[in-house]
């Protein structure tokens, strides 16, 4: 097989797994909260910047605690904001606008703190004991499989899916809805932080990467949920986006990825295949 094809295949696989991790983070960040939570992308830029601020030898030791600390702070802040907003009878759409505003504030705080330059870990770790692309693929594969199993077979995953369908039913079953919201938001922020490290390794992270990643996550989440109310379909949608990106890059030699993504997103939002499927099932 041609080395070019192998290179494309490996980069597409890495991109697919990164998109899947971002998609899963948005699934957990949004599903229990019932709005498109763009602010889940904050750890994606915060964690690489925190890790990059540390000296090179201790960088990978600090990564784990940094992910947990940033995710905890971010999840606590987002939950506080959404609870305050819910008390003020804010609609889901207004919460989405608020999450965009929170993302904008944080993006610009990062810009003030570290400047507009990009951060990458690849050149710092070549030949050292850091990540390689294959290690990254292996790590992300394990994470994505674990998330899929967690969502599919554990009580946490089942109650997460249930709370998306009906909060009242979950509350009547004796499960704390607020606790579940906190747990899913925290899980989403953790996954976003992990994706941030991978993103910085694979493509470099800039302050505006947060919005790009947020959009990718939201698109895979929306498309996935339109197909099936499950994290597996979110992962499938994310991998499909990565494959489409590779095809577009080869076909057009310029980056039409985001345009294609948005057109698909628009089509999914307007035509809603989930409703067609439900209607078809009802007719049958």
């Amino acid at each position: 097989m041609s080395p070019v094809i192998i290179t494309y295949a490996i980069s597409t696989l890495a991109a697919g797994l990164l998109y899947a991790t971002v998609g899963c983070s948005f699934y957990f960040g949004s599903v229990a909260n019932r709005y498109l939570n763009f602010a889940v992308a904050i750890p994606l830029i915060a964690v690489p910047h925190v890790v990059a601020a540390c000296a090179a030898p201790t960088r990978w030791l600090i990564a784990g605690p940094a992910i947990i600390a940033v995710a905890a702070i971010c999840a606590a802040g987002l939950l506080w904001l959404s609870h305050r907003a819910r008390k003020a009878s804010t609609s889901d759409g207004q919460l989405m606008v608020m999450s965009l505003a929170v993302l904008a504030v944080f993006e610009n705080v990062i810009r003030l703190w570290r400047g507009n330059e990009s951060i990458g870990f690849a050149e710092a770790t070549v030949g050292a004991s850091g990540l390689s692309t294959m290690t990254l693929i292996a790590l992300l594969s394990v994470i994505v499989v674990c998330v899929a199993l967690l969502s599919r077979f554990t009580p946490f995953g089942l109650s997460t899916r249930a709370v998306a369908a009906s909060r009242d039913s979950v509350a009547l079953a004796g499960i704390s809805v607020k606790g579940l919201e906190a747990a899913t938001t925290f899980a989403g922020c953790i996954l976003s932080g992990i994706a941030g490290i991978g993103w910085a390794y694979e493509w470099r992270v800039r302050p505006d990467s947060a919005f790009t990643a947020a959009l990718l996550g939201v698109v895979s989440y929306v498309i996935g949920r339109r197909l099936n109310e499950d994290v597996l379909s979110v992962i499938g949608a994310a991998v499909a986006i990565a494959i489409a990106r590779c095809i577009l890059l080869v076909a057009f030699q310029s980056d039409w990825t985001m345009t294609a993504l948005l057109i698909v997103f628009l089509g999914t939002t307007v035509f809603a295949p989930q409703q067609w499927m439900r209607r078809r099932i009802a007719v049958e």
Binding site: A88, S91, G93, N108, R111, L112, S254, T259
Partner: protein
């Protein structure tokens, strides 16, 4: 104070105010907050810039850009009539991002560099482009404010129908109000106002690019709208626009470093939006509605 700076600031206030007034027509009076006006503005601005640069027929370019924007308005209005408020917000958000991304990649729109040296409407050998555009904008702001005050007033049948649809869509439909006609009318008006603002943006800056209509402009418009209070009289929106522009210009005067001034402005505006959404959603003069406008029409 430099007079060209004052004119530019006035133009910014009017552009922001008109975009917020257009957004409020759907958000405050129909109950569908969204980015339709900014999308109309983006389409109008690009159509004007492309046609004016290639043909130099400025009046024809302006008319065609308004027609193109009203086409967007019809589509967006149809969407608004079909779905609930949250889905309308999502669809208009995606439409705006898609239009900007297509402009960012397409050759005819100049790609990421945009279109430079756009001929300014009303500019001549002895007339300054900014001065003339500000005059046109001032006239448009006065005309649109009066029209919107009349259209959305409860003294008129149209305003009563709008508010009926916002407050209780099922009974309004049962009483014979066609939701499609109403939403398409309102959405077309907001996109026409958006197109006028788009033409003025292209004329004042003599440049149109993807950054001219990015998401942060939309959030700024929403901030102005929430500060004024959705559903308020249009004159309050102009006051809110002036307040937000004063805030951002104040920040750029205090923080003179060009690297930090931009991020501080964006962060401040969005902080204001967060605080308003949390604490003060009725803004300066918004009506306190008993029910929101998120009733599903179908």
């Amino acid at each position: 104070m430099n007079s060209s700076y004052a004119l530019y600031t006035l133009a910014t206030i009017l552009q922001l105010g008109l975009l917020a007034q257009a957004t409020d027509l759907m958000a405050g009076h129909v109950g569908r907050i969204g980015f339709g006006a900014i999308t109309g503005s983006c389409v109008g601005s690009y159509v004007y810039a492309v046609l004016a640069t290639h043909s130099q027929q400025l009046l024809l370019a302006s008319v065609l850009s308004v027609v193109a924007a009203s086409g967007v308005g019809v589509s967006v209005g149809y969407v608004a009539a079909l779905w609930d408020a949250d889905r309308y917000l999502l669809v208009t958000f995606v439409v705006q991002l898609t239009v900007v991304e297509v402009a960012n990649n397409a050759g005819v729109t100049g790609g990421p560099l945009g279109i430079r040296d756009v001929p300014a409407l009303g500019a001549g050998p002895n007339r300054d482009a900014t001065h003339t555009t500000v005059l046109i904008l001032l006239t448009c702001a006065a005309v649109f404010t009066v029209i919107l005050e009349v259209l959305t007033s409860d003294r008129w049948r149209f305003g009563r129908r709008l508010h009926w649809m916002r407050d209780d869509a099922p009974s309004a439909i049962a009483a014979g109000i066609n939701p499609f006609t109403l939403h398409i009318c309102v959405s077309s008006v907001q996109c026409v106002i958006g197109a006028v603002v788009g033409i003025s943006i292209a004329s004042v800056q003599q440049y149109v690019g993807p950054q001219s209509f990015d998401l942060w402009l939309s959030l700024k418009v929403i901030t102005v709208l929430i500060l004024a209070g959705p559903g308020c009289a249009p004159r309050y929106i102009l006051i809110a626009a002036a307040s937000i522009v004063a805030l951002t210009e104040g920040a750029s005067i205090v923080f003179t470093d060009p690297v930090s001034a931009g991020p501080i402005e964006v962060a401040l505006t969005n902080l204001v939006l967060i605080v308003l959404l949390l604490r003060w959603r009725h803004g300066l003069a918004g009506p306190r509605l008993v029910r929101g406008g998120s009733d599903n029409v179908d």
